[in-house]
């Protein structure tokens, strides 16, 4: 993949010679987050409907992240004490950290998709949605078991 071998950022805009270090690549990614206007420096301006669809998908991911954050805050405030000490707090932290990860992934994926659209490339593939679905389902099952166990006491 050119983004790795040539040291380009995911937007393909920052090149400082071949074989840049991982730290500089990560720095380029973070710089792209704070300066998304750089995406307009690559490729050609696409049909605006594609960009708007990408924007709507990004916002849907942000709402997912906010829902996870809300779930974490509500778990910490409203769940009863569970049988395992600090499990309630651990559950809340997992939800909050997952929400944080989803928000950053949403931003990164939006930028990568925008770049791919502008360059006429295939959209980037990711296992993140499947991993998130498995994580949420597993968490819900664990919580259900714990709540049922707490109800039996």
């Amino acid at each position: 993949m050119a983004a790795v071998t040539t040291g380009r950022s995911p937007l393909g805009t920052a090149t400082a010679g071949p074989a840049r270090g991982t730290g500089r690549i990560i720095g380029g990614v973070i710089r792209d987050w704070f300066d998304p206007e750089r995406v307009r420096q690559v490729g050609s301006t696409p049909d605006y409907r594609f960009s708007l669809a990408n924007e709507r998908t990004f916002l849907a991911w942000i709402r997912t992240a906010l829902a996870l954050v809300a779930g974490g805050l509500l778990a910490a405030q409203l769940l009863p004490e569970l049988t395992v000490p600090y499990l309630r707090e651990a559950l809340a932290v997992v939800l909050l950290v997952t929400g944080a990860a989803v928000s950053l992934r949403a931003l990164n994926h939006w930028l990568n998709c925008e770049r791919a659209i502008r360059l006429g490339e295939d959209l980037p593939q990711s296992r993140f949605p499947a991993a998130l679905a498995v994580l949420v389902a597993a968490g819900a099952l664990v919580l259900l078991v714990l709540l049922l166990a707490a109800g039996d006491r």
């Binding site: 987050w33 300066d35 924007e55 709402r63 906010l66 809300a70 805050l73 928000s103």
Partner: protein, 89 residues
């Protein structure tokens, strides 16, 4: 409508974070800081969203620009403040 929906959810999470700052945090200064962060994030996200909604009210809207970054980073900040509140002694 997507931006309006998102701003509504940001408002809800901001309120929850403000409530958490009162319920979970020790009185001061952590609770005050968390409450201030909730309000500041809400205002910043609301302004960015409002500008984007206004920019979309034309036949060919401009690119999204920094509004997306602002909303994502506010969400990330809310999550970090939430972790700090939950793990506070």
């Amino acid at each position: 409508m997507s931006w309006v929906r998102t701003m509504l959810v940001v408002t809800l999470v901001g309120l929850l974070l403000g409530r958490s700052a009162v319920v979970l945090a020790p009185p001061a200064p952590a609770g005050v800081l968390a409450g201030a962060a909730a309000v500041a994030g809400w205002v910043v996200a609301l302004v960015a969203g409002r500008r984007r909604v206004a920019a979309l009210a034309v036949p060919v809207p401009p690119p999204v620009g920094s509004a997306a970054s602002v909303v994502a980073l506010v969400t990330f900040g809310y999550a970090l403040v939430g972790v700090a509140l939950v793990t506070a002694p």
